[in-house]
Amino acid sequence: MLLFDTVFNGNDAVYKLTEDAVNSAIAQHGEDKAVGFPDTAYGLPCYNAVTGTKIKTLKDIKDAMGVVKSLMTRERRINDAFMSGVATALCAEFIEALKYIDGATPYAEPCYGHLADAIIRELGVPLVTGDIPGVAVILGSAPTAQEGADLVKSYQEQGILVTLVGGIIDQVAEVGMKTGANVRVIPLGKDVTSVIHVVSVALRAALIFGNIKPGDAANLMKYTFERVPAFVNAFKPLDDVIVACGAGAIALGFPVVTNDMDYANGVKVPKSLIRLEDVSKFNAASLEARDIKIKITHIDIPVSYASAFEGEIIRRGDMQVEFDGSRVDCFELVQTKEAAEIEDHKIELIGPDIDEFEVGSKHNIGFVVEVGGKKMQTDFESVIERKFHTYINGGEGIMHTGQRDMIRIRISKDAFNAGFRAKHLGEILYAKVKNDYEAVVDRCQVKIYTNPEDCKELRHGLVFNVFEKRDERLLSLTDESVDVYYSCILCQAFSPSHVCVVTPERLGLCGAVSWLDAKATNELEPEGACQIITKEGVIDEKLGAYESVNTAVKKYSMGALEKVTLYSIMEDPMTSCGCFECICGIEPMSNGVAIANREYAGATPLGMTFSEMASMTGGGVQTPGFMGHGKHFISSKKFMAAEGGLERIVWMPKELKDFVAERLNATAKEMYGIDNFTDMIGDETIAEDPETLFTFLQEKNHPALSMDPLM
């Protein structure tokens, strides 16, 4: 039989049942008899929420039956099935409402039946905050009482609110499990119609917390779908009525997981109807289907974990064992995988554990942290990987230095004696990655290798391969090759009107925010400091002037800046906050620029020190002829590209020159064919005044002297 027919049949059956019940109630009490649930301001909440009509009497129900009927269309289309599901749910509410006539108390311990508005207000808050990450509706009887209770317990431990309908109520009682709102396990009732009481919770939550107007069915469905993280676990055997109710659940956005493998086989409602024989897998399947992420509040390791341990140093004498990437093959790596390839929270140790090593000995280690998620991008791998140092250092008695394949990890004797083993490194990484990168990482598993052969093979194969690809990607990332740039306003606390425009070739002027960092920040914190800037409305490509950039800068500087160019220091140059690593400024005599870095305290040929230049350039004010920037920007092809590029550099402090020499010379060679460009650039040992510098530049035949005048 087709699922459609099952739903329709179930719906018809329930409708008939309801009609009979209403009629007999009218016969008994008369049409004007008041109906309603206790302690709610919403009448019959489900009917009210869907239609906007408050039912007060039996006559109202009779009229409402006509409305319900109108939902019961019978085309074999998915929407018809959904609407029939909703109709079934409304009928269930009528049947339940009849039970409460004359202030009756139809439900007795442990069952709750209808839940008061006050309980919803109370449960609603943790639902909104995510403290209750989800709502499970468990229906029917599990294969065994123990399996049923285990499933309930698994949800309970995750903080999920569990509601029970039918046989499962007796099953959990049988194994002696406590129930009640205070332990977040709520038995509703034994009739299948009592399931409406949890639907009522979901819909009233939408009215109270979502500000949905009763009768606004479209937004109601949208709200329950987006904001009420409920799902259904229905045990076999299913019947038509349950399936019809299930269609209602799916219509509200609540997926159904069942172990009834036979029912309506062959019908696929992806992510919404899941058949699964093994009840112990219901939990994981339900959470994933409903996209529920459980916050990890506790890292399961035998030592303390806090940022205060970050600076701890473990000396040789206190050390149980050491992994040293400078001597033997070690590495750490984040790799993106398909979600299906990852079993969440699987931590695998491949090779001997720490207790098999001699005290004080040196070994190989390699971690591969495999992550997957709908929003995960390979660009985030290195961003996540860079955090490993901080993550691992947080463990008491664990020290980590370095990154990529040059890592060193020491584990103290105290930590070892407390029971710390290799897998606990995995626990730390798992917990931190899942928590900090919740927005992009849905699943995470960790493989730890300690065999020298494995580490060697992986390092020279997989790992180098990935590093190489990443480096290539970084090189290929140019301002032209990407579609968007990012704004960064991290330092507006100090420099109120400053906005950095971060592009692949121009990192933030603090030197700390690259385009990839900004991208990750934006993904993780969509309302945060880094926002997307599209590249639209080219005004002047050479200057790097775009309408969209100007609009963004105006917006994020709160109107203080009208326009900036990306590549010019003369025309609307980018502003500087105060955190810049370097400042460059025009040296008129040599027709070039001199650069001073923050560490340099001496004089420059401009006649100004770094701090004098800083006081004129900082504070988010545009100062043509002067610009703050990061050290790495000096060797960028985009360095004052509009004025001819880095060929213009005529002076910088020696220390800075040495620091940037390799990369600067490489770019100068590539762009202009100049060898050892830094030899042509003056420094404080050569000149601190423009005249001496000019003579030096003439001797060296510096290209800036013959370039177009800067001004």
Partner: protein, 447 residues
């Protein structure tokens, strides 16, 4: 529209002759653009360039100097309405008012009283800079000259309020060398007062019934060639005075109306009408918005501590954070055996941390090392706060002065612990909580 440094540079002779005092023409031009140097300092500018520049680079608000020698103060010269737009440059100066209508005892008490408030806060001397001397016609010229003499004897700079030009002239004869302000020009006497002030070479204060009258009088005085003015914006009530102060400043800076571009005098003493607490509120109000000389009835510590603190904050350059002197600061009676804690020299951090430590009641020593005036994390990121800088400071300036060998470091730089243990082997390094608000509990647990 203000000129950029580059635009100014193009008009300079580009000779780097250094005669202006700057090492290069570029450096000079940048200073002029900022308002930190006057274009006339360059002896080699062409007449034409000077004319263009003088107009374009003149600040929208005049910088007026009052007083002489150590007691010389700069008023005005502001270029923005809000400090975050750039910075405020001239802090308001406070005056205590005396009047020839008061009896001698009252006057003596006031002159004596104002001397009591004199202390230092983060490198700045806090005291009553000015004495405001009111002339009461009823009590006659002699009495006035008497109190002018008394006030002048304190060495503080005077502001004379007197609309009678003969009396004013006599008063100036006594004190003109110390460059007081003569607050005396009105629509009625502008020309005569102008002559008196100009002859004595002092700043002239302008007052009037309303902004229109004030504006006309300023224009008249400017027409007479006097641009050495301040404006008494005090009106009949608080509301009018505030409106005058704000509108005048706004017209100067936002609308570029130079006739409005003079510092102000606000007579809070008059507005508060003997209500000491209202005077406190209004003193703060006009310190925030656009008072240059603020006249008070009295100055005591109740008022001085918050008021000078407010002024010091509001008139700092946003780009140059306030710093405290590096050194050992004992707290709650800390001595050489007390626990040592260290943090940066950024004044705000110092105040927050020392405040919490004081609240804990536990004796301790707060060690402040030079971190370039940055907050903990910023200083750490910039390399101004590192295990090296802390160790060096401890070695050079602390270890001989204290015998305690426990050092608490900020929680945000817990990462320095290991390095510090290596560099300071006989010290126990302890990591504090991340936030200062957790310090009270932490200290109580440590004690």
């Amino acid at each position: 529209m203000a000129l950029t440094g580059i635009q100014i540079f193009k008009m300079t002779p580009k000779k780097n002759c250094k005669e202006c005092g700057s090492p290069t023409c570029m450096a000079f031009s940048m200073k002029v653009a900022q308002g930190a140097a006057d274009i006339s300092a360059c002896p080699h500018m062409s007449e034409e360039a000077l004319a263009t520049l003088a107009d374009a680079t003149a600040p929208p608000m005049k910088t007026i100097k009052i007083g002489a020698g150590d007691a010389e103060y700069t008023l005005g010269g502001e270029t923005v309405l809000y400090r975050h737009e750039k910075t405020f440059v001239s802090r308001p100066r406070y005056a205590v008012a005396i009047c020839s209508c008061m009896d001698d005892a009252t006057i003596d008490a006031k002159l004596e009283g104002l001397k009591k408030v004199d202390y230092e806060r983060i490198g700045e001397r806090m005291y009553v800079e000015l004495i405001y001397v009111n002339y009461s016609a009823e009590d006659g010229q002699d009495k006035y000259l008497d109190i002018v003499k008394k006030a002048a004897a304190t060495g503080r700079t005077l502001v004379l309020e007197c609309t009678d030009e003969a009396v004013a002239k006599a008063a100036l004869d006594i004190c003109k060398d110390s460059k007081p302000v003569l607050n005396g020009a009105t629509a009625a006497n502008a020309e005569a007062m102008n002559a008196v002030a100009t002859e004595a070479g002092v700043v002239l204060g302008v007052s009037g019934a309303d902004l229109n009258e004030i504006y006309d009088t300023i224009a008249k005085l400017e027409g007479l060639g006097n641009k050495n003015l301040v404006v008494d914006v005090t009106g009949a009530d608080v509301k009018t005075t505030f409106a005058n102060a704000v509108q005048l400043r706004r017209a100067a800076i936002k609308d570029g109306d130079r006739t409005c571009g003079y510092p102000s005098i606000v007579k809070v003493a008059k507005l508060a009408k003997d209500d000491k607490y209202l005077q406190e509120a209004l003193a703060a109000l006009f310190t925030m918005k656009y008072g240059s000389i603020i006249v008070l009835q009295d100055m005591d510590y109740d008022q001085a501590l918050p008021l000078y603190g407010l002024r010091q904050n509001v008139f700092t350059d946003p780009q140059k954070p306030m710093t405290v002197e590096p050194g050992i600061y004992p707290i709650n009676g800390g001595d050489e055996n007390s626990l040592c804690l260290t943090t940066v020299d950024f004044a705000l951090t110092y105040f927050v941390v020392s405040g919490e430590l004081e609240r804990s009641g536990v004796p301790c020593n707060l060690l402040i090392s030079d971190a370039g005036g940055m907050s903990v994390l910023t200083a750490w990121a910039a390399g101004k706060l590192s295990s090296g800088t802390i160790a060096k400071f401890i070695e050079e300036q602390v270890k001989d002065k204290v015998s305690c060998r426990k050092l608490v470091i900020p929680g945000k730089v817990a990462v320095l612990k290991g390095d510090l243990e290596a560099k300071l082997p006989d010290w126990e390094i302890i990591v504090a909580p991340n936030e200062a608000t957790q310090l009270v509990k932490f200290m109580k647990e440590m004690a």
